[in-house]
Symmetry: none
DNA sequence: GAGCCCCTCCCCCGTGCGGCGGAGACGGAT
DNA sequence: ATCCGTCTCCGCCGCACGGGGGAGGGGCTC
């Protein structure tokens, strides 16, 4: 049963992460890391050129993020590779976007080496298992809730949107800070900006406004 | 690294399917089929008794179907096993129900032996991989449209509903007290009860829960 | 280079909020 | 007659929150 090795590309802007992933994956005889990328744009070109079987794609990357890179690859390649989106937190709203963009899998950075390797093998070899097109359908439907939007939506900066999304998950400022990997004071600033722009007085009203404006894809 | 074998229970009303699954799975040294069931009801009792690591659960079964059996197991067991729901068609609406019921995975009957084995190993060993809580969230949301209201809704008293509605209007406790013509302390009590019954931490989370449960008339 | 926006982070301060642990009154159930 | 659930209300406490008013750096445009 000697199959050709599974060819992998790693896309992550942090060298340490790439190194760690490479170390884990290269230890497996049936896995071969054929390329790396440090930005979303680079990921797209590297993947187009090398045509790997699986891509481990970080969400957070300079220039073009992992979601957009995934979108582009899935949309433009005849036979796109299986793309596994890697992130730190499972409740990240990125998840939905990742699935909608066409990601085949979703992996947490805190996964152990064993899980990582098995996940790679799994997505590489099969297309009929854990949540295949069904998930795509779910995510697509989720996204179809693209609502008309309220006036204030367009006035929010990128960071403010991030913060509002997390507010709408019921997180405290401290928790949001941890997830966004910034200081609590920063989150406070963004929250204040969100409250001002949404014309609300506290986080609860802001979340209500978000729901009613269809800002959240749930609505 | 000799780990204890992964203990499996197969639940399927067709003997042929069980035999086939058993043949495939038993060929692997690290997998052990410890029990079988032919109905949903039987699956529940067998699983409760044997406490396997993974259950392969057919959707279509006599008496109680696989979805309900999954629901019951996940809801009632302290440490429910990983339940992989098995079906024939991927666009089956069962998929959504399965995920919502708490299934850890979803497998198509046309999967080859290799995929089956790997899927079992994967769900057994890890809980942080391909589409974890995110899928659950998606499925839950999907279900909300079809079947509104959450379990906690019916448990709220009349007054608690009143208070929750006003909370969802973004009012403070003092404001709610004025509208309901009661003391602020009373509102606090009701709010506390609402938080307890909705399993939320603060009013923001409670409002989110209300929105997502379709508790509000306009949502 | 000046101006502007965005993101980051800091201080102080008042308070709304939620947890904890009560209590009295009413009404329906058995 | 007793019990239980509901609604009403109390005090105390700690903390997360939001307001006010900043500061510094990077990136953009003009």
């Amino acid at each position: 049963m000697t199959r050709p090795a599974i060819r992998l590309v790693l896309a992550d802007d942090e060298r340490m992460v790439r190194t760690a992933l490479r170390a884990i994956l290269s230890a497996e005889p049936d896995l071969e890391v054929v390329g790396e990328a440090t930005t979303g744009a680079e990921a797209v070109s590297v993947v187009r050129e090398l045509r790997p079987d699986v891509v481990l794609m970080d969400v957070r990357m300079p220039e073009v993020d992992g979601i957009r890179a995934t979108e582009q690859l899935v949309a433009t390649m005849a036979e796109p590779p299986r793309i596994v989106v890697v992130t730190t937190f499972e409740n990240d709203s990125y998840v939905y976007d990742a699935l909608r963009a066409g990601a085949a899998g979703f992996l947490l950075k805190r996964s152990d080496a064993d899980a990582l390797v098995q996940a790679v093998r799994l997505v590489a070899r099969t297309d009929s298992l854990l949540f295949p097109s069904a998930v795509r359908a779910l995510a697509a439907e989720h996204g179809r809730r693209a609502a008309p939007s309220a006036p204030w939506v367009s006035k929010l900066t990128g960071r403010e949107r991030d913060v509002l999304r997390h507010m709408a998950d019921g997180l405290t400022n401290a928790e949001i800070a941890r997830r966004l990997e910034v200081g609590p004071a920063t989150v406070k600033s963004h929250v204040a900006a969100v409250l001002a722009k949404t014309g609300t007085r506290d986080r609860t009203q802001a979340v209500i406004a978000a729901y009613e404006a269809g800002f959240l894809s749930v609505g």
